[in-house]
């Protein structure tokens, strides 16, 4: 079974600037950010984005390391996701 998940927006993440504080994880209203398994060059886990971003910029607003840039799609992008 799969579900279609719409992304109205997306982000870029400067993973090398991330210090792994995890503030963005609970800040994300649709909860589509998770922390990575691997670590960056400085040894920190960093956030990863999954389908469902709304482009609300909450992650950017709480990120102390200015890692996020937020975009909104003119037409939402659809992803098939196993449910």
């Amino acid at each position: 079974m799969t579900t279609v998940v719409k992304s109205r927006g997306t982000v870029t993440i400067d993973v090398e600037s991330c210090k792994g504080c995890e503030l963005c994880i609970p800040a994300c209203p649709p909860a589509v950010l998770t922390m990575s398994g691997p670590v960056n060059k400085r040894g920190y886990h960093y956030p990863e984005l999954h389908p469902g971003c709304t482009g609300c910029a909450a992650c950017l607003m709480v990120c102390p390391d200015y890692c996020f840039e937020v975009f909104r799609f003119q037409t939402p992008v659809e992803h098939e996701v196993p449910s």
């Binding site: 993973v15 503030l23 990863e48 909450a58 996020f68 975009f71 996701v81």
Partner: protein, 295 residues
């Protein structure tokens, strides 16, 4: 919690192509670099972003002069593209006074921590407010000396554990925290006084608005304007970074209540802000008990 099933990890290393527009730039234009040496989970970079955005929103960038205090945030003096006068610990309001009196058309602001403003330089900020200097003082308040590694300040709340209040701040032994915004709001020379926070996205947005209002008061030469910003300091609070926002809300945030303490000539005490929050919470509870939130 979200009901969205987690899909695959998406590419976030590259900006999307056509069909997408930037809604928020990664780094505020006023920052020469996004790199800084502050600890993971620190709230001070968010306060710096709020100031930078407020200046950009109001088109005041090319009038801005910062009188900077001494604390962790001092490192932003090197990376924020704003004319800077570095001050000694506690002295920024007086230095800003000298700057503003010589440059009446500049947008002059201080950035100080609670150790800098409320401990070392308490009389400076009070006198500057009382004189009604048309400048904006910004306080980043985390209730702790972050730079020395987590020691009690004059704003540490009762019960707060720091390196020199190991069992928690005890009123009988260590005295009570100072609600600096209330002191300033009572002074005739203060035109705008507000207390914000950066512990979640809503608070950041609200705080940015407060900083904007403070700068607007300065531009209208209404007098002294002041914005206190509660910031997380997980290092100085000895907690995991992810717990910073909740710890802020449940400790500092319960004492130093967010809100506008003086605006449009109206003074509201922290106690009144607290009572209002309690009333609003009770209303919500009542609505929920009646079967759901009303519009």
């Amino acid at each position: 919690m979200s009901t969205i099933p987690l899909g695959p990890v998406l590419d976030t290393a590259h900006a999307p192509g056509d069909g997408a527009r930037v809604v928020e730039p990664k780094t505020p234009a006023l920052l020469l670099t996004n790199h800084h040496h502050l600890c993971p989970g620190c709230g001070e970079p968010l306060a710096v972003r709020a100031i930078a955005e407020a200046l950009e929103d109001l088109g005041l960038v090319d009038t801005a002069v910062c009188a900077l205090g001494i604390g962790c945030y001092t490192s932003f003096g090197a990376t924020v593209d704003v004319d800077l006068v570095q001050c000694l610990h506690g002295r920024a309001p007086s230095v800003a006074t000298g700057v503003k009196r010589m440059l009446p058309d500049a947008t002059v602001f201080t950035l100080q921590g609670d150790g800098d403003m409320v401990n070392e330089g308490l009389q400076e900020v009070l006198h500057t407010a009382a004189r009604g200097e048309s400048l904006t003082a910004v306080l980043v308040n985390n209730g702790v000396f972050g730079e020395t590694g987590g020691h009690m300040t004059a704003t540490s709340v009762l019960g707060q554990r720091t390196k020199n209040t190991i069992e928690g701040r005890d009123a009988e032994y260590h005295g009570y925290p100072i609600l600096i915004g209330d002191l300033i709001a009572q002074l005739e020379g203060a035109a705008y006084v507000a207390r914000g926070s950066v512990h979640n996205a809503g608070a950041v947005a609200r705080t940015t608005k407060m900083v904007r209002r403070a700068f607007e008061a300065q531009r209208r030469r209404e007098g002294f304007s002041f914005v206190e910003i509660l910031t997380m300091c997980p290092t100085g609070w000895f907690i995991p970074t992810g717990e910073g926002p909740d710890y802020l809300a449940s400790t500092l945030g319960e004492v130093h209540i967010m809100g506008e303490l003086k605006a449009d000539g109206q003074i509201r005490t922290t106690e009144e802000l607290h009572a209002e929050n309690v009333r609003k919470a009770a209303e919500l509870d009542a609505q929920l008990a009646r079967g759901g939130l009303e519009d």
